[in-house]
């Protein structure tokens, strides 16, 4: 069992949904970013997604795009991102960590080298936004062969006919994108989300986490009632942005800005009845 499988099994036994937090590696700088990463589990993050910054994040909204720009301008690279994971793993062998991003930086780093280094650093899974199942042999299959979970996005446009294609080779969990849109956009409708999660669960035993547009503890609680996990990203990187000084540098409040929000979200989720009972 992967760390992700173990964590979702544990969440099931606690009869609650998990909080999946997204921050961008290197935002606003490598040192602060590592401090945030290390503080996330204690604040209530059950699964950590870490964004690999990319210059052209086509599926992301302004908040995550700006987070990526902050990271890149502070000198973040793929090697530094993998090193961050390694340093996080030194102190935490339990919390699943998923790298999320776009294909080109991996392609340029070298697919085999990236996968080897990711496994060695302690990465548990990958979410690569612009690799559809039609291109599985390119990254997904080699990743799965090395024991990494390859987590696929399912969306409102993924109809029942296409869903098996998307679920094939997917492991760890399914990431349901709750809206047609970019990250951090309109809030999802909990009823529609519940119906969609049920639709996916009819086709797979994997846990389903829901993201895109979840910003507050209340929204997180509403989604948690229907899903196995709630992903929050834009709100967290916006909290980072709001804590920076006029020159864009991290201040004493930066780490706390993130962990306070994570605590709030985690409390919301833990207060929600879990309706999915997977």
């Amino acid at each position: 069992m992967s760390r992700i499988d173990t964590r979702f099994a544990q969440l099931r036994s606690e009869n609650r949904a998990g909080l999946v937090t997204f921050v961008t590696a290197g935002d606003p700088d490598a040192e602060t970013s590592l401090a945030i990463l290390k503080a996330l589990p204690e604040a209530g993050a059950d699964v950590i997604e870490m964004g690999m910054p990319f210059s052209d994040p086509m599926a992301d909204g302004p908040a995550i795009q700006l987070a990526g720009q902050r990271a890149l301008s502070s000198g973040q690279t793929m090697a530094k991102t993998l090193d961050m994971v390694r340093r996080f793993r030194d102190g935490d062998d339990q919390t699943p960590l998923v790298l999320m991003g776009y294909y080109n930086p991996i392609y340029i780093y070298g697919v085999d080298k990236f996968l080897d280094d990711a496994v060695a650093a302690g990465v548990d899974g990958l979410i690569i936004v612009d690799i559809p199942p039609e291109a599985d042999e390119e990254l997904c299959i080699p990743a799965v062969h090395r024991g990494l979970n390859f987590i696929r996005l399912a969306t409102p446009t993924t109809d029942d006919k296409r869903l098996p294609t998307v679920l094939n080779n997917t492991s760890g969990f399914v990431y349901y994108v709750s809206i047609t849109g970019i990250t951090g956009a309109a809030a999802p409708n909990p009823d529609e989300v519940a119906a969609s999660v049920a639709r996916i669960k009819a086709k797979t035993d994997l846990p389903v986490a829901v993201g895109f547009g979840v910003k507050t503890a209340g929204q997180a609680a509403a989604i948690a009632a229907a899903a196995d996990g709630v992903v929050v990203g834009s709100a967290l990187v916006s909290a980072i942005a709001g804590s920076l000084d006029d020159d864009g540098r991290a201040g004493p409040a930066t780490v706390g800005a993130v962990t306070d929000l994570v605590r709030d979200l985690a409390a919301g989720i833990r207060g929600a009845a879990n309706g999915s009972a997977a």
Binding site: F54, S55, D56, P57, M58, A59, G61, P62, Q65, L72, T77, M78, Y102, Y103, N104, P105, I106, Y107, I108, Y109, V129, D130, I131, P132, E134, A135, R152, L153, A154, T155, P156, T157, T158, D159, R162, V166, V177, T180, G181, I182, A185
Partner: protein, 406 residues
Amino acid sequence: MSQPVDPNSFRTGPDEAGHFGIFGGRYVAETLMPLILDLEKAYNDAKADPAFAAELTELNARYTGRPSPLYFAERLTEHLGGAKIYFKRDELNHTGSHKINNCLGQILLARRMGKTRIIAETGAGQHGVAAATVAARFGLPCVVYMGRTDVERQSPNVFRMRLLGAEIVPVTAGAGTLKDAMNEALRDWVTNVSDTYYLIGTAAGPHPYPELVRDFQSVIGNETKEQIVAAEGRLPDLIVACVGGGSNAIGLFHPFLDDSDVAIVGVEAGGEGLQGDQHCASLSAGRPGVLHGNRTYLLQDGDGQILEGHSISAGLDYPGIGPEHSWLKEIGRVEYVPATDEEAMEAFQMITRFEGIIPALEPAHAFAEVIKRAPKMDPDQIIVMNLCGRGDKDVFTVGKVLGVEL
């Protein structure tokens, strides 16, 4: 990733998954994947429907003014003292460039798919104007994404688009140029999947865009073939076009790919020279990567971050290139060379003074290569260059370079 291998033809690509060799493909978010597959099906249906081709041919003739003339540039030929130089006059098209060829084809496809809203990206504004034009002609609302930098340097085209009823959205992300506009158009499409058609402006993006844009632009090469045979009784020795995303070039080149006696050259924006990073020569100075839905040559750093290109010509200011061009470079069928801003400016002035044609700065890059090659060729040899756009939009840029306040 198997290219249908036909050693006798360079014209069989892409394969079913949209690959030209290792290039092309469909690297898009899952939200868009079903749309891309729908588009592919709709395009295949349209190709099989004679009524679709008939309507497009009629619009090309009556609305755009096709065929565009093939013009013997007599004075330039005499001045350069070598091969005979012909211009394919796509700058005479309605809206002033080759972009209308693609827009008419795609708007017919959008209508066929029942889409009610058009979005487009634009760099120089030529594609935006053409997209706004066909949207007006077919009565559909149109949103054009344009980088903030380009909005500033192409203000006449911005006003044209507004006159045509399009909404212009300036994009401030990144350096505010074409690639950022394309990101923003993709974000719109991801958000408005049910009613919106993304009318992409160049032969790039996820499959089937590179194929369908090429097909709609191939009217350029098909006409050229007939016209040069009528004028000279044979095919040219060399054909030349500028490449930004590469749609005018692939439109001219594709019908000639299997004519092995025809040399083919694509001219990239060399900007301030390839020694630094102030250029947009993705084929000459980039390397393969994945962006905007396809694998192709890209300007990027060692960590896979996409670089902002630079060119005096906003229409060539794109750090990628259509995937079929990447393949044609790799297999060696087409040669790709850069022309600098300075060379393009010289070429611009030469065409203007000797032929009384003010070209766009984009085809001025192509002519910069003609200036180098024509004198080394024999007088009985023939060059055809695609004069793909007119220069009205560029007079302010040129004025600035020449130190003239307009």
